[in-house]
């Protein structure tokens, strides 16, 4: 009896097969940094709740070179993650006006504009300006 050949997909190295899979994995890995930053915020709240001395110690720890390096990495990861997300919005949320679809760049662009506006508001509230 002849039988078809099944070619197994390598379960732990499949993403090495094509550059587009590596790009996808890069996007997924950036979410680890976003998650790690959320954990950091929880620690910040915890040290704030524990009183002034503990919060000041936390602020000192934030100024350490390791912490600055982490922040830079997390910022880069978050920017990349956000960009992939906003670029995806035009696929996920097409808008049809009358017969025609609104240009995809307009939909993604609107997200970038909203992002920039919200960031400015937050920086303003944080006293940066």
């Amino acid at each position: 009896m002849s039988k078809p050949l099944i070619r197994e997909v390598p379960p732990t190295s499949w993403y090495l097969r094509h550059p587009r899979y590596l790009r996808y994995m890069a996007r997924e890995v950036t979410s680890l940094f976003v998650g790690a930053y959320c954990v950091l915020l929880v620690f910040a709240l915890q040290s704030l709740a524990a009183g002034q001395a503990s919060y000041e110690a936390f602020l000192v720890a934030l100024r350490s070179p390791a912490s600055i390096a982490f922040h830079l990495l997390a910022l880069a990861a978050a920017l990349y993650h956000a960009a992939t997300w906003f670029n995806a919005t035009q696929k996920a949320m097409p808008i049809q006006v009358g017969e025609e679809f609104v240009s995809g760049n307009l939909i993604s662009g609107a997200h970038y504009v909203a992002w920039a506006a919200l960031s400015i508001v937050i920086l303003f509230l944080a006293g940066v300006f």
Binding site: S2, K3, P4, L5, I6, R7, V9, P11, W14, Y15, R17, H18, R20, Y21, Y24, E28, A88, K91, A92, M93, P94, Q96, G98, E99, E100, F101
Partner: protein, 247 residues
């Protein structure tokens, strides 16, 4: 007419004698404007009549000539030899069982297509005497892109989720379900949602986006799947958060 010597490493598998596949090297003189399928046809006619592969239309319409060409899922009738330098590696579409040489078994895909009910299910049956179902150009345009699928399965060969989790309904079948769900004449969405909004449906998709990159008909299956995710999430919120299940 300009000619070129083309070298191909072609995947061979004979189910009667082989336990694994191997590559066979061919060298064949081709016209400069030929596609990979032309080279295979010339090999079959002049060098090796035992080589097996599928094709029919030679114009990117029938969807039967899909192969991996240098690791990329492609229609071999739509892939020009002049775009390649060196040896061209030709393999059967990944993620599908190989029946013989470049011929794969499409059964799983066909089964999945059937499951999503890819046909109009009218809201209420209407006798022919009442005339046709009318549709505006805008209503047509809403789903038109998703009608362009030629069932070539390149998106399945590109999709790592399908490779890792073969029960995933997959890009083309879900896009086709979405096509009917978006059709103003259709009333079958609830029936299709049971299949495509399930775990093996759209939630198996992690938006790698490879399907849309390889689709020769520009269906944008990745877009369709994200739209189905959003619509299914809205369904869930309506059902669980609105009084009366949002009905």
């Amino acid at each position: 007419m300009k000619e070129r010597l083309v070298q191909l490493d072609v995947f061979r598998y004979n189910p009667d004698t082989d336990t694994a596949g191997h590559y066979q090297h061919y060298e064949v003189v081709c016209q400069d404007e030929w596609v990979v399928l032309d080279a295979l046809n010339k090999i079959k006619e002049t060098i090796d009549p035992t080589l097996n592969y599928r094709w029919s239309c030679h114009m990117a319409v029938c969807g039967s000539c899909g192969m991996m060409i240098n690791g990329e899922p492609k229609l071999s009738c739509h892939t020009f030899l002049r775009d390649y330098a060196g040896v061209i590696r030709v393999e059967p579409l990944t993620h599908f069982p190989v029946e013989r040489d470049l011929v794969t078994a499409p059964d799983d895909f066909i089964e999945k297509l059937k499951r999503v009910k890819p046909y109009l299910i009218p809201k209420e049956p209407k006798p022919i005497s009442e005339g046709e179902y009318l549709q505006t150009p805008a209503q047509l345009k809403k789903y038109h892109r998703f009608t362009l699928c030629i069932n070539c399965m390149l998106c399945y060969a590109a999709c790592p989720e399908y490779g890792l989790t073969p029960k995933f309904i997959g890009p083309a079948a879900i896009s086709l379900a979405h096509r009917y769900n978006q059709d103003s004449r259709d009333g079958g969405r609830d029936e299709r949602q049971e299949i495509i909004a399930s775990k093996e449906g759209v939630w198996e998709c992690t938006f790698v986006g490879a399907c849309s990159e390889v689709c020769p008909a520009h269906v944008d299956p990745a877009g369709a799947l994200q739209q189905v995710k959003i619509a299914s999430s809205i369904d869930w919120f309506k059902e669980h958060l609105l009084p009366g299940g949002g009905k």
